[in-house]
Symmetry: C2
Subunit: 206 residues, 2 copies
Amino acid sequence: MKLTRLSDIRRKELRQAAFAVLQREGIAGATIEKVAAQAGASKGIVLHYFRDKRELFEHAMRESNLVLRDAVVARLKGAHTPMERLDAVIDGNFEPHFFQPSLCHAWLSLCAEVPRDEKLKRIQRVIHSRMRSNLLSGLRGLVVEADANDIAFGITTLIDGLWLRLGLQPGSVSRDYALRQVKDYVAARLASAELPPATRPASVGA
Amino acid sequence: MKLTRLSDIRRKELRQAAFAVLQREGIAGATIEKVAAQAGASKGIVLHYFRDKRELFEHAMRESNLVLRDAVVARLKGAHTPMERLDAVIDGNFEPHFFQPSLCHAWLSLCAEVPRDEKLKRIQRVIHSRMRSNLLSGLRGLVVEADANDIAFGITTLIDGLWLRLGLQPGSVSRDYALRQVKDYVAARLASAELPPATRPASVGA
DNA sequence: CTGATTATTGTCCCACTGGTCAATTGTTGA
DNA sequence: TCAACAATTGACCAGTGGGACAATAATCAG
């Protein structure tokens, strides 16, 4: 029953190596051998730990997803008001550590395969729905349900778009500018939305 | 000097075939042979018209770009007020003909290669800067320059994000919903922006 | 008509890829 | 100590991909 520790470690190394290769080479240029080289191992070992190429890159996507999740969760710890929760999610998505072109390139390559890989599709759905639910946990305290849904969708979409832009034209979107775009969006939409039914305005600024 | 007609026709056929293959197979699965098959020709002919694989897919991206450009230009013809111009650009980007998952999949695959292909990068830049300039031609009549720039960037980003979402979860974003998201965004940001310096408010609604 | 140019095909080659497998080398627990 | 087992390697294979090329067909200019 006890899982071999070494096994877990290798698998993690290989997932990360796979992701690194994805950054450099894109999905079209990513090969098992390159992943092995990146991890300083032999090709055989990669297929010892992962059934095939697909599984390897599916785990690579899970891996990158974890980083994002952790960043958001960490920031969510100290957030108490709805607005703080909202900002936590947004800020977490632009963590300097990983709001970077190379990481974005890998992410893009994975996204490009989503339509042809059911597992990747599922991972994507999970990521998106978690982000949405995190945003809603803040938004519900600020506006009525219908608006909250729309604004949450808008925020995720805007964030996706900013990431995409970072991948396509790295110079054209700094972390600060990206953050400001999202915050301006939130401000503008909150200003023209209905207040929530059960909450008093005072709590918003608290 | 006169370019062979036939040559132009073949090249166009092959560009389109390449794009079709990209929709089905993604960049990782797209091969010259499949493109040839798609066009009902032999592999040799593809490399007769295009220096290599890269060039072929660069032209495929140009091709897809044309479709978008034409859609926007057509709608822009009849637009006279700033607001009409703005809507023309936005509507054009969600033309039912091509706001579709399969097309989006191909587009995504091309985007994923942008970081590793200087030509693709240039095409991307052109597309983006044209969209931006089209948006600005409307926005400048509605808000001050600084706001116009930010809002234009926000709109392009939002549109990119909506396309991306269409690719990742086709069911989750209908054309109508996408349009509403963008329109709501514009409305909210216009409401909280400064009016333009040289234009009288009356002209806005004219 | 004819010579030159262009279009098109099919073949060939070589590098590489994903994946299998047998063999080797630790590692460990009794 | 030794047997069982996990980790790791390197060789191997069949299939495929990109691209070069020579040969053939079609087109066209004069």
